[in-house]
Symmetry: none
Subunit: 229 residues, 4 copies
DNA sequence: CATGAATGAGGTTTCATTCAT
DNA sequence: AATGAATGAAACCTCATTCAT
């Protein structure tokens, strides 16, 4: 897999910080509330980068402020303190992901096609991207931020597991999947994808991993090898 | 799986600090060198606990010293600074694991039996234990300690991958494994085990995971379902 | 010579910290930039006192902060660390001295008169004052702060030597000085003044030295004894 | 002046540390007391080097011990603590210098010859040598070690001044010196020599100083220029 | 609202001194 | 007498948080 340009984790709507009102136009829709939201978004974005790069404890608010282009004090207008900033942050960033998850594509075609489409999405949107790093961040800081781990479990993991389980059961019912017990452990379905995420962060340098190919092999294992396509 | 009593990560030989000479015996092998080794071991043990509990940056040397029962300055007799302490530490703790890995049980019986035995070991020795936490620690701090990630890759990951690949190829040759492409991605074989490790740290509270059962299902997927045992 | 009241080494312009706005006037020019400059000046002043009293290594930043009336952290807003504080400090304090040196009085009268005027200045401004102590500080710490020694040589010593040499050559040309080789070693001209500086710091207690009289005798040696004035 | 090999500041009698008793001879005069004296001498020598190189506060006992080839604890068998070590040290090293001073060569020949001989000695034995550095060390640390300054004044400075004064008065009586007031300030006679000592430590790198030539010029100034030699 | 200078608690690290061996 | 591992006070420096402007 080739290195993609780093994608922002923020929904594009809030990433308008750089846009300066052209001379002449009267800062039209940019009332105070909007400006504030932009600032907050800039802080969130900057903080995410820093937290991912250094971890919670080693990240300096000074650096976040500098990267966000605001003064240090401004951060405290939006967040109570460093801890709650981290917690709110993760929530803010995860929400759109959840939205995606729940808006699954319409179930047309085989279960394998569905799963494969989902894996493709995951490859493009998570593995090797900033969002993948976020997953690693949660693994890293989870134990010290139970509220983050809780939130992540509730909003992402439990829903994801449930969705996978539904798919697996559908696959079993349709005869696409033979291993009936798989429905008890949807984790097995996503495990290689998670490993790929971690691998990219830690070992890509030593041994690049073709995540796409690996996921295909894994699906072959579950659905049986595909006939000539 | 129920929570096991926390196991020490230190080889038992060096964990004699607590042992008070029984009345009557004359301070047996406790020469200076031994005492120093004991102290170092105590520091390593304490540091590991603290690093696992709080991460590198948030761990205080004060707490390590207190837990190890030594003065703060004593740590600096054994380690240059906090960073190299962390790095040496991980090495020290990993080495016995590597020793285990290389001393694989003699290849008797089917490949599945071998893999199952190995999985059993892993369950007992890693998942849900301090050693499992260590894996999560490496995932968490790896990007900020490339030397640690490098070491871990070289000593554990690459060897483990190689060993798994050999087993898989054997399984394919013997007809136990049908999916031939699996040999290209031994990661798939271990992925659920890794997920189990992480799950225990982060989500066990919300949804306990029967790792043993999950691994069995995963092996069924690879080797085909077992007939009545 | 009697002990003079300790003179500040700071140009008076920046020493307004203590000055409380007289009742009635409205906090006049005290904008943020000014306040910052005042604080920095206070730190420089305090640091100089402490360094002179204890030397570089034995001086505690805590004491400097206390004396300057700022918090410890404030020092680090103005200086990178203790070492560069010391180096910048010496520069800051020396600069006005250099300015003085280069703005020598207009060459009226005999060379002897010129030199004598200069010696008088030196007596009043350096010997037995904080500035004299600074010279001793540089002698003391120079070998460990080559950059300080370099700066001092470049800005003070080499210029001073050059100026003295010019005066000596003038004196020789006019027939006021007979010893022609003196131009090769202007150090001889200033040596007793330097000795006086050191003497005041170290031995004044045991044997007070009338620096003024000594310098006069030394000039008699060089210019010939003065006739009745 | 060319760089001389570093000379030990210790009287040779006590510098026998390196001498190991040849096999066969029965460690003859090397009884306990002698060994102790050797160790002490080694400590003094090592400490002097370190103090000169780093100053009192920045010198580590660890380094002294290492350089002296003894354990850190051993230092405390000979000296109460770091401060008194420094004080005793300076005394120990200065004593032989004083002995020299008081054992002035027999007063043959002219006063100028005497003074010149003395200057020659000073050049060889002090300027640019470890002993010169010691003078700078005393200037540097004197204010924080009044007892050292006192001792130095009493044993070296006051005696030196007295001796110089005697010579000057003899010179005046014999008509070799015309400036009668010089006897009031023998400091003038030695000032250039002191300046040379300091110059070598601080500025030799930037502008080497021919101390011998400078001292000759200075004596010409005092005694009148020498006729053809 | 926004700023960023100022704070000071708290962290890492050093090193003079002690003391059991 | 000599050692050097151990101590812990004290130093330097960082950085989350506050608040006057």
């Amino acid at each position: 897999m080739t290195k993609k340009p780093v994608k922002s984790v923020m929904p594009s709507a809030v990433r308008t910080k750089a846009r300066a009102p052209a001379a002449g136009e009267a800062a039209p829709a940019s009332n105070r509330a909007t400006r504030a939201a932009e600032r907050r978004a800039a802080i969130v974005e900057a903080a995410m980068e820093e937290f991912i790069a250094r971890g919670f404890a080693a990240t300096r608010l000074d650096d976040i402020a500098k990267r966000a282009g605001v003064a240090k004090g401004t951060i405290y207008l939006h967040f109570k303190d460093k801890e709650s900033m981290f917690e709110e942050l993760v929530r803010t960033v995860i929400v759109p992901v959840v939205a995606r998850l729940t808006a699954l594509p319409p179930p047309t075609g085989s279960v394998r096609d569905l799963v494969e489409a989902f894996a493709g999405d995951f490859l493009k949107e998570v593995i090797g991207t900033r969002r993948g790093d976020l997953v690693r961040l949660i693994v890293a800081e989870g134990p010290r931020f139970p509220s983050v781990a809780d939130f992540y479990y509730r909003e992402v993991v439990s829903r994801g597991i449930a969705a996978m389980r539904a798919l697996i059961e559908l696959g079993i019912a349709r005869g696409e999947i033979r291993e009936k017990n798989l429905a008890r452990y949807p984790q097995i379905l996503v495990a290689p994808a998670m490993i790929a995420v971690i691998w990219q962060s830690l070992f890509a340098r030593h041994a690049p991993l073709d995540a796409q190919d690996m996921l295909r092999v894994h699906l072959d294992l579950i659905f049986g090898e595909r006939r000539a396509t």
